[in-house]
Amino acid sequence: MADVFDAYTLSHAWDEMFEAPGTPRRAYERVFAALEHLDPDEVRFRAEQVARAFTDGGVTFAFGGEERPFPLDLVPRVIAAAEWDEIDRGVRQRVRALEAFLADVYGRQSILADGIVPRSVVLTGSGFHRAAHGIDPANGVRVHVAGIDLVRDVDGRFRVLEDNARVPSGVSYVIENRRITARTFPGLFAEHRVRPVDDYPARLLAALRAAAPAGVHDPVVVVLTPGVANSAYFEHALLARQMGVELVEGRDLSCSGNRVRMRTTAGEQPVHVVYRRIDDEYLDPLHFRPDSVIGCPGILNAARAGRVTIANGVGCGAADDKLTYTYVPDFIRYYLNEEPVLDNVQTYRLDDPERLAWVLDSLAELVLKPVDGAGGKGIVIGPQADERTLIRLRATVAADPRGWIAQQPVALSTSPTFVSDRFAPRHIDLRPFAVNSGDDVWVLPGGLTRVALPEGALVVNSSQGGGSKDTWVLADARRRLPREAAAAEQGRAALPPSVVREGVADRQAGPGPAESAQQQQQ
């Protein structure tokens, strides 16, 4: 029998599971032991079960016009407690800095006056909206939900690849991945003390309620979706369902007198907090694209009047522009007076003519990204690009240096991924999700690990053939998981059966076989 790890080769990239060929890292010892001796057929069987679970649940996406299950790899990504602690601190710090920056930019603009960021960089960003000026969020939060994309470099250090402060998506896959992985490898899952992810919807709802307009004590929260044709519709429905709030489309809302209402079978009902999963450009045709039919005309004025809260706030794109990204470490020092816990990837701005010239000459060794692209769109990875692409890129970048940044290529860390009949290394990243309730930034322990499925590929987006992995954050040995704490508090473990028996009534059963059964057979 061929061992499923036989052909696993390590490259110069950091490998999540192995520190040397055949030697797993400590956090992975049990996972490796469980997988090592699996028969490829068995692995394939489980992979099919996983695909089936996603297909039946309708967790699919269109790939080349065909309905495919969301690809979840069987091998979980394991993050040790100490590693997670650094990520947790780093992400929280980053979100606080982005929040402070947005409050400043749409308010006093002291960071521009102090010359930390050039005014032109902020004002020319496509995510900066003048319409957002003067909208003061009730509890000071604009970035209610953030997704900070991290990668791991060759030394195993986590670095921030980009920030998502507008409408980060993917958290539903974190929840679904966990549900399905835990069922596929119940024994393996039980051996680890994995921190739970299923309280995300409750945290989100609490943060949204905390953001309600002033004077509203029992706010009505809704999730605003573009509609069933949207690729993230599954996520919108899942969050609405698990938060127990209405999932609305633009046509369900009406706005008059600066109040937003939804049309229900019992007439129009007020809405106080809109967790929108629609981009700024489509949100309000009165202010942004007039041809938008999925938004709610007038909602922005209602927000300005303090009658409704839009989450995430309008104009958060000013903070997650990729050019702004290069300044975030400065934000952290300026607003928080701290040193960044997580570093950026080495990035070059193209504002300086000399640097621009150097970048244009070194395109083949660099990664070039458009500053307002999302989902891996428009990225050119120099070392993997052909000559024609580079020539075209050179002309595009030279014509619009403001529209691009250059980065040193990062050899994303690799993780064993099931490919046809064995495990092979594939590059992965990590998107932790942070929820800001105003009092506190909470980071979901885990986040979305995305996998670039084609061999050697570095772009992990699912629209470009990416998959995902369940992400297990191990609990600190000294810390109790909430469910363990609850069990201990109730003393359930020590409950003797006799006490239980006293607390329940007797069971009843129906009449047994007739005594005459034997005679009946005569």
Binding site: R241, T265, G267
Partner: protein
Amino acid sequence: MLSRIAESLFWLGRYVERADDTARVLDAFMHRLLDDPGTDEEAACRTLFAVLGVAVPATESGVCDAQTVLDVLAFDAREASSVVGAWQAAHDNARGVREVISTESWECLNATRLALPAQRRAAGRLGPYAYLRYVRERAALFSGLADSTMSRDDSWLFLTLGRSLERVDMTARLLSVKVLASPYAPDWVTLLRAAGADEPYRITESWGGDPQSAARFLVLDPGFPRSIVHALATAERCLADVADATTGRSSQGRVPRRSRGQALAPSATRIVGRMRTVLEYLDADTLVERLPTVLKELQEACLAASRQIADQYFQYGTPVVWLQGKDS
């Protein structure tokens, strides 16, 4: 609840029931064609199309036979009154209400939709019965799951309302096949079996093969859940509960438009209640003679009630389109 959601649930209920009932009608009909080779197949098939309100497809040969019936009424996904088309439509409606129906009900709908192509291929080998049976079973599974996993709130009421109205309509059409085209129609036993009613019928009515009693059972039996009177009563109850729920809740918010000066019961309730009363006071002995009129009235009442429900509860905006340029 949102008007858009209410509408989707109403149609979800209708389409699942339609898939189920169409499968039942086809089953009975195919049985008849096989059973009696002397039947004029062409005429029988055309009758069935007419009763189900589906246009006879124009084929090259101009022939309309059992295969045409199956191709269109069972397997044509573009036809909303076919088995697969109704299921697809149910699924599409369910997609828009994922957050209000239970995950289990949704998975049942979705898994069935995905399994239908394979079932159809199997039907090519084994005949249509397995396919029709599969759809009936999955519809039963959906109803059972909805029954046991959905709260009895507005969403449940709209789902059940849609199902009941569709059941009235489809049972009426099932009977129309027999009443309007008796020579081509399945016999009463087959019809009863198609409605799942043959055994309850034998228990309730003493068996005599009497057409009066079979029709009476399917139309008037108050205890059998697929009978027309029972389905009407269920729909009536749902409408009353919906009215209570929606006006009751609005007392703390704005007064909705429809309750102003409303001394009369809402009109959908009136239509459904009137139909039920007409049936209940019908002279049971002359039912069969009056059946053609009654069945037509029933189908029209379903149409009218459905329109009234839409007017009353499913009012929501069409997207606002901003005119740009000189003309605006």
